[in-house]
Symmetry: C2
Subunit: 263 residues, 2 copies
DNA sequence: CCCAATTTGTTCGTATGTATA
DNA sequence: TTATACATACGAACAAATTGG
């Protein structure tokens, strides 16, 4: 085979061309190959020895580059099998992007920790970005956007209302059918149908009184305190690709801040 | 010197005695030395070559052990200087344990990102642990506890009310003077006066209507939606050492979920 | 200002263990 | 069983930052 095709050798060590350490150059090169689709979601990378040879670095340096990409959830390693490009599974959504959990003191039977929510599409429209949306998506105000309204249920109760905004320019011809027919998570749809990879997200949380829409969708009295989560999902180069405002009914559930590390 | 005194050599590689990899055994040994106070907060560790020799492992293995402890914020490395045991500075509090930030759309002058809050002691009492506190602190209900009520202000506004509960058994003879006289953060007081090291924290967030106390302390109408953050601070071995319920007025501020990585 | 000593950071290479197909 | 891939462990050499003379 020709696994080393189109693979740019990174700079040498002695005269450190780019200023950055060699393992970071190798990392960026790998990142570039994934971003440009040379290794798509779910793809198997060449072996470490092969990659190291192709990139012109030692195995130790290559491993360090891969280490960082694994920490950033862009790659996964499996001993004896190989190294793979991460794809957006339900698992990943649950642990990296879904932060609502049953309250530990809830008067219910304990349903074994994390639960994948049942998602219902409530509304799908096309419109023009308001100030907030435009700023979040780094686009001019008035830019064409799609808005997706989802209701998320846990254990049969409506718990979260998501108002999702994406730029129409990035999601050409997104239709309601896409959303209804998709087999996996929304982010896996972004990836498979539009070539957009969500890597991480920033979230800010505040408390507000439920407005009429939220109250109706979540089935609670208007004015009730609810959580409002503002999320900006980022792709390669920290490019914003989704703005999401979630309204969370926290009578039986919590927003759980992911705890640092856990060795 | 005798830096290698009282330092137990970890098992050999060939016959992997403990089942765990050698670098983890080395890590645990280092962790133990820090926990037992052999290297206190702020202490300088021996050089990597020295530590490696003392522990009977190679420099690469030692570095890997230290790497993990650095990721867990237990150690910090400074090139050319040495490796140090982390101590609880205001900096660390701000970035690892304080998650309230000015809203980006706030109608104010931008005060350069993160701001250290002005803390005012509102109340200090001794009492018996209720159900929640006992469960959180892993103690029998009715156990003696101290309760600390703090008001935190940002830019001159009262934004957070903290109700902190700690076991009296762990904080013997904690007095109001301790709290009023302390020069640094609360966690640095735990560390210097009581030998208790907070390593990480789990937080759960929900929305509630402000009760009378919170309304008074935060200067807002009763019934107003506010954030309620439940935090359990953990020490070595994930032992809970503090239970804290924070009430956050999010009219001008957000609870910011720490974003994963950031290379 | 420069030099030398010390310490961490980077890079290389090799050997061996462990998991998977 | 064999081959392949990642995981662990070792150690050498040099680069870069810091400190003190």
């Amino acid at each position: 085979m020709d696994t080393k095709a189109r693979m740019a050798k990174v700079g040498r060590a002695g005269a450190n061309s780019a200023g950055a350490p060699l393992y970071r150059q190798a990392k960026r090169e790998l990142q570039r190959l994934i971003e440009c689709g040379h290794y798509g979601p779910g793809a198997t990378l060449p072996s470490e020895t092969g990659l190291a040879r192709a990139l012109g670095v030692s195995i130790g340096t290559l491993r360090r580059a891969v280490d960082e990409l694994v920490h950033e959830h862009l790659l996964v390693r499996r001993q004896g099998r190989g190294t793979y490009v991460t794809s957006h599974t339900a698992e990943r959504f649950l642990f990296q992007f879904f932060h609502v959990e049953l309250r530990p003191d809830a008067p219910l039977d304990a349903p074994g920790e994390r639960e994948y929510p049942q998602v219902t599409l409530v509304d799908f429209t096309r419109g023009k970005a308001d100030e907030m949306e435009a700023a979040a998506l780094d686009r001019p105000a008035g830019d064409a956007v799609f808005r997706i309204d989802n209701r998320l249920s846990l254990a049969g109760r409506a718990v979260v209302h998501d108002r999702i905004t994406v730029a129409a320019a990035l999601f050409k011809n997104l239709t309601e059918q896409h959303l209804r027919a998709r087999p996996g998570t929304l982010y896996s749809l972004y990836q498979s149908e539009f070539g957009i990879t969500v890597l991480r997200a920033r979230e800010r949380v505040r408390a507000i009184a439920a407005d009429t829409d939220a109250a109706r969708i979540l089935g609670l009295p208007r004015g009730q305190p609810v959580l409002q989560v503002h999320r900006i999902a980022l792709s390669f180069g920290d490019k914003p690709v989704e703005y999401r405002v979630s309204t969370v009914h926290t009578a039986m559930h919590d927003y759980v801040s992911l705890l640092p590390q856990g060795r």
